[in-house]
C-alpha cells in the first residue's frame, strides 16, 4: 500500500491519526466558536434585514436590498479580507488584533445577507390571514410578527436555514487568511500547517472528516426537527388518554385534514 502514491498522498494513516489529537482538542472547538458566532451574528442581522425587506415603503427596503445584493454578490474571500484586514488597517479595530472577532463579523455579515432572504421568503409565505387574525385581536404589528408570523415563517425555511448554517461552518475556515495564534487555530489552519510540514495532503482529509462530523449531523438534525414540526406531536395522545377525541368526531377530523 505504501507504494501507491495516491493512497500515500491522501490516506497516510499515520499522518491522519497524528493530526487528529490537535484537530479535536484545539481546532474543533475554535471552528465551532467561529461558526456559532457567525451564525448568531447572521441571524440577528437577518431578522432585522428581513423586516426591512418586507416593508411597503421603498426607502426602507432600499438599504436592506443593497446590503443583501452586495454581500451575496461578493466573493466570500473579498469580504473576509475587507473586514479582517481592511477594517483594522483603516483604524477600525473593535476586536483589537484578535482575528477571531473579525472572522466572525465577516462571515456573519455574509451569512446575514443570505439568511435575510431565507427569512423574507419564509415570512412572505405565511398566509396574510395570520397577520390579520393577530391584528384583529389587538396585537401591534411587531407583536403579531414576533408571536404569530415570524415563528411560522422560520419553521417553513428550516431546511434552507440548515444549508446556510452548513455553509457558515465551512466558510469559518477562511479565517486562515487572517492568521491565527497558537490556541486560536481552527480545523483547516491546523491541517494546513501539517500539510506544509509534511508535504502530504492526508491531514486535510482528517480535517475534512471533522467538518463532515459537524455538517452532516446538523443537516439531519434540522431535517428531523422539520419533519416533527410538520407532523405535529402524536405523543400528546398517548400522554393524555382522557382527551382522546370521541369516535364520532374522528371522521370529522379526517375531513379537516383534506381541507387543509
Amino acid at each position: 500500500m505504501k507504494d501507491n502514491p495516491l493512497l500515500h498522498t491522501f490516506f497516510n494513516w499515520e499522518l491522519i491519526a497524528g493530526t487528529f489529537p490537535r484537530l479535536l482538542t484545539e481546532g474543533l472547538l475554535n471552528t465551532i466558536l467561529i461558526a456559532a458566532g457567525a451564525i448568531g451574528v447572521g441571524i440577528a442581522i437577518a431578522l432585522f434585514t428581513a423586516m426591512l425587506l418586507l416593508s411597503s415603503r421603498w426607502w426602507i427596503r432600499l438599504p436592506a436590498r443593497i446590503y443583501v445584493d452586495v454581500f451575496r454578490g461578493l466573493p466570500v474571500i473579498i469580504t473576509v479580507m475587507l473586514v479582517g484586514v481592511g477594517l483594522p488597517a483603516a483604524g477600525i479595530r473593535p476586536f483589537g488584533t484578535n482575528p477571531f472577532g473579525y472572522a466572525i463579523l465577516a462571515i456573519g455579515i455574509i451569512s446575514g445577507a443570505y439568511t435575510a432572504e431565507i427569512f423574507r421568503s419564509g415570512i412572505q409565505s405565511v398566509d396574510p390571514g395570520q397577520l390579520q387574525a393577530a391584528r384583529s385581536l389587538g396585537m401591534s404589528y411587531l407583536r403579531a410578527m414576533r408571536l404569530i408570523v415570524v415563528p411560522q415563517g422560520i419553521r417553513r425555511v428550516l431546511p434552507a436555514l440548515a444549508g446556510q448554517f452548513v455553509k457558515d461552518i465551512k466558510e469559518s475556515s477562511l479565517v486562515y487568511l487572517l492568521g491565527l495564534a497558537v490556541g486560536q487555530r481552527e480545523l483547516f489552519f491546523i491541517a494546513q500547517e501539517e500539510v506544509a510540514r509534511t508535504y502530504n495532503s492526508s491531514p486535510l482529509i482528517a480535517a475534512g472528516i471533522c467538518y463532515l462530523c459537524l455538517t452532516i449531523p446538523l443537516t439531519h438534525f434540522v431535517n428531523h426537527l422539520d419533519r416533527s414540526l410538520r407532523e405535529g406531536r402524536p405523543a400528546r395522545r398517548t400522554s393524555r388518554p382522557d382527551e382522546e377525541p370521541a369516535a364520532g368526531l374522528a371522521s370529522a377530523a379526517a375531513t379537516a385534514g383534506e381541507n387543509r
Binding site: A133, G138, R143, P245, A252, T255
Partner: protein
C-alpha cells in the same frame, strides 16, 4: 360620559382600490345587542366593509365610531380599539403553531396582560362553551373545519369584545359542519352580543338577524328587518339577488 345607543356607527365610508371603487358613501349604525346581517352578491363590498369596521382595511374617507371611540381618528390607539372588536374569518386563521388552548389564550396574555394561568383558565372555559374542551391540547390542524371555526369564535370571545364581526364564517365549511357553527352564532345573538355578520346563509339571516343590509356595487342598497327584506323586497336588485339565492 354616556355611551351612545349605537355600538358601531359608520358615516360616509368610501374605499377604492386604484380606480376600482369598492365602497361608496356607506352610513350605518349597529345598535347595542343587535345582530346585523350583510348580504349581497360577491364583489358587492360586504367583506371589505366588515374589514373596514376594525380597520384591517383602511377606508379612504368617512368615520367609524366604536361607542365613544372614533377609530378613524389617527390619534386613536387602534390596537386597543381592535381588542374590543372580535373578528371571525372565512378561513378561521387559527395559529397552526400553537395548541388550541394557546390560540385562545395568546391575546389574553400578550394584549390584555392577563397572567398566564388565568388566561389559560379563561381559554379552557371559552373552549368548553363551544364544546371543544377536549381538544385544548391539540394542534388546530387535527380539528375539523367546523371545530376550528368554533375555536376561532372562542378566541375572539375570550377578549370579551363589545362587537363581533363574522366574515363569511361558514363559507369554507363542508355542508354538514355548517350547522354547529351557526348554532354557536345564534346562541351569541340571542344572548345579546352585538354582531355584524357577512353571510350567504339566508336561513341564518332570516332567523337570527334583527336587521338585514343588502349591499350592491359598493352601496348599502337596502337595510330593514328580515321580514321586509326577504318577503317584502321592492328593490329590483335585491329581488333579483334573492331569486338567485333562495
Amino acid at each position: 360620559m354616556t355611551e351612545p345607543m349605537a355600538a358601531l356607527k359608520v358615516t360616509g365610508l368610501s374605499k377604492s382600490y386604484g380606480h376600482h371603487v369598492v365602497l361608496r358613501d356607506i352610513s350605518l349604525e349597529i345598535l347595542r345587542g343587535e345582530t346585523l346581517c350583510l348580504i349581497g352578491p360577491s364583489g358587492s363590498g360586504k367583506s371589505t366593509l366588515l374589514k373596514c369596521l376594525n380597520l384591517l382595511e383602511a377606508p379612504d374617507s368617512g368615520q367609524i365610531w366604536l361607542g365613544n371611540t372614533c377609530l378613524t381618528d389617527p390619534r386613536t390607539d387602534i390596537n386597543r380599539a381592535r381588542a374590543r372588536i372580535g373578528m371571525v374569518f372565512q378561513h378561521f386563521n387559527l395559529f397552526p403553531h400553537m395548541t388550541v388552548e394557546r390560540n385562545v389564550a395568546v391575546a389574553l396574555t400578550s394584549v390584555k396582560r392577563i397572567g398566564r394561568d388565568e388566561a389559560h383558565q379563561t381559554a379552557r372555559r371559552r373552549l368548553a362553551e363551544v364544546g371543544l374542551a377536549a381538544y385544548a391540547h391539540q394542534r388546530p390542524s387535527r380539528l375539523s373545519g367546523g371545530q376550528q371555526q368554533r375555536v376561532a369564535i372562542a378566541r375572539a370571545l375570550a377578549m370579551e369584545p363589545d362587537v363581533m364581526l363574522f366574515d363569511e364564517a361558514t363559507s369554507a365549511l363542508d355542508p354538514e359542519l355548517v350547522k354547529g357553527v351557526l348554532a354557536v352564532m345564534k346562541d351569541l345573538a340571542s344572548n345579546g352580543m352585538t354582531m355584524a355578520v357577512v353571510t350567504h346563509e339566508m336561513g341564518f339571516a332570516r332567523e337570527a338577524a334583527d336587521r338585514v343590509a343588502f349591499m350592491d356595487d359598493g352601496r348599502l342598497a337596502e337595510i330593514d328587518t328580515p321580514g321586509q327584506i326577504f318577503d317584502g323586497a321592492t328593490h329590483p336588485r335585491l329581488r333579483q339577488f334573492l331569486s338567485q339565492v333562495l
